[in-house]
Amino acid sequence: MAAAGQEQTVSDYIVHHLTNLTYGKLPEGFERYDGETVAAGGQWTFAHGADEIAAMGFNAIHVDSLGWSIGLGIIFCALFRWVAVRASAETPSGLINFIEMIVEFIDNQVKDTFHGNNKLIAPLSLTIFVWVFLMNLMDLIPVDVVPELMMLAGVEYQKIVPSTDPNITMGMAIGVFVLMLFYSIKVKGFGFVKELTMNPFNHWAFIPVNLFMEVVGLLAKPFSLGLRLFGNMYAGEMIFILIAALFSAGIFWLLPAALLQIGWAIFHILVITLQAFIFMVLTIVYLSMAHEDH
């Protein structure tokens, strides 16, 4: 927990845990944490502290979030591809059975909600569900383990739960939003414009009002999708960090903190599954709405 050689407050501890490992471009003339000034043309480097991250602005990458996210995505692909290669009409066993159970569950969900013929929705839902679940699952790894190991390896920050990073959740939500727009235009054509302008008041005089309301409603969808997941996971992670901070409050706090830790972790098993499921179901529902012609 303690950074080498300096007094650390609980607030430092929390901030440290909530800071991403950021690789980005510092602007020209920026004075760095060690007093150096960034040379002309800017400098790509790992950020030290919140000031540098703020200075980097959009030209930065959360190496930890994106790394864990892609890593988990690769685990998902590898695992399911492994099963896909071995899946046959014979009696399934063990892992294959489990994976097929997930696939069947997703397939049923999609069939229940989405009535069109679209070969993308089901694999999309499967990817979202399993990937988001895996990202959320990182939340159950004790908050200090990976960051401490990383600090031993010389990496200052490490945030291992990708879904506590709005970039990750909003990235997926924007992906879904683009698909919504694509299918709305593809399926409805001009009907999509009509849907935006002639609802809920079916009169030409109300077109500005309708357009405003419908666009707000439309834009709310990706935000609700991405920020719901982010909010839930961020809050969950925050509570894990607070409970972890409680361990340092004194010997009498050990037992209550441990109990809280276990209780919250057990409850969180439900939360992470539920959030992955909600993200998937809403994706199906939104895309289903994009396919429905009024």
Binding site: F58, I61, F76, S88, E100, L120, L126, M170, G175
Partner: protein, 156 residues
Amino acid sequence: MNINLTIIGQILAFIAFVAFCMRYVWPPILAAMEERQQKIADGLAAADRASHDLELAQKEAVDRLSEAKKEAASIVEAANKRAATVVDEAKVAAVAEADRVKELASAEVEREKAQAKEQLLTQVSALAIAGAEKVLAAEIDADKHAALLEQLVKEQ
């Protein structure tokens, strides 16, 4: 909590993973599952058919058995009847044969009795003629009286 290039990276990763899943994961798994479903459905249908066939076969077996039993019973009955008639016929034939043999025998006896009687009469008449010959040797001409006696025998 800054929005930065990470979001672009995540969108690209998202597209890549979904594309991979759509191309290499979903179709084979679903195909295998559907194939298995078909196989199970076929198996169940076959089992249904088999049990139906079994039922039919059992019914037919029972039918055949009762038919065979009926047939056997009728055969036994016919045989019994036939045996009775054979016995009756044999009895009648035996009685008839016995009657015939008896008749034959009594006819023979009758015939032999008649023959014996005739013989006896012939002998008696011969003896009488002989006696009478002896008695009447002197005065009676044998040839002359023989014809007379012959006639007498015939009249008897």
